[in-house]
């Protein structure tokens, strides 16, 4: 185990550390923004895919109707 003794940082380094911490915070908020943007795009993608599924169902229904009209009715 490490001893929990106080550590002293040079004043020049300290200023730099504060700067780096500020930059880090900025980057974290940027990453958060990008993640939410990706989430939004993903939701839009999902909506397009759901639309496709609905459209395919509609087309299938129409083809079924045509099939009934052209083939099944003739067989009766």
């Amino acid at each position: 185990m490490m001893e929990n003794v106080p550590v002293f940082v040079k004043i020049g380094d300290y200023k730099e550390i504060v700067e780096i911490l500020g930059l880090t915070r900025e980057k974290i908020s940027q990453a958060r923004f990008l993640l939410s943007k990706i989430g939004e795009i993903k939701a839009q993608e999902d909506a397009v895919i759901a639309d496709w599924a609905r459209e395919i169902e509609e087309v299938e229904q129409r083809v079924d109707d045509i099939d009934k009209t052209l083939v099944h009715k003739q067989l009766k």
Binding site: M1, A31, I41, E45, E55, I56, E58, R62
Partner: protein, 131 residues
């Protein structure tokens, strides 16, 4: 001469309408595909941006650690390891000749994922020494 047979379609207008509507729906689906392609490109671009941001964060974190004073960590001493079969105690780190041969083999090329996993292990061991 062969005779031609015809099949009557009772409501051709409806059939034609259905066919044209289906074609229209399929073209609309293709338009949606173009939209989807655009979205996917946008997503990839954003993911790339996110990756570079994360890389920058790693660099900043490394810088931060570099600026902080170095604290000596206790080195892992060679702990006597008890062999379960013989009961004899062996020191970790001693290698037999057979193991030496294995070491000579070329190490497999590590992927980025492997390197990242190794980094995580390294940090975890550091964290455990700090607790």
């Amino acid at each position: 001469m062969t005779e031609d047979f015809f099949v009557g379609v009772r409501n051709p207008k409806d059939v034609r309408r259905e066919l044209v509507t289906s074609s229209r729906s399929l073209v609309e689906a293709l338009i949606k595909y173009e939209k989807y392609k655009g979205l996917r490109e946008q997503k990839l671009q954003t993911l790339e941006e996110l990756k570079s941001t994360m890389d920058e964060l790693v660099v900043l974190n490394r810088k931060l650690r570099g600026r902080l004073p170095k604290v000596k960590r206790k080195k892992m001493e060679s702990i006597p390891h008890e062999c379960p079969e013989t009961g004899s105690k062996k020191k970790i780190g001693k290698k037999t000749t057979a193991k030496k041969k294995e070491v000579k083999k070329k190490p497999p090329v590590k992927s980025r994922l492997d390197k990242l996993r190794e980094k995580i292990e390294e940090y975890e061991s550091k964290i455990s020494t700090l607790q």
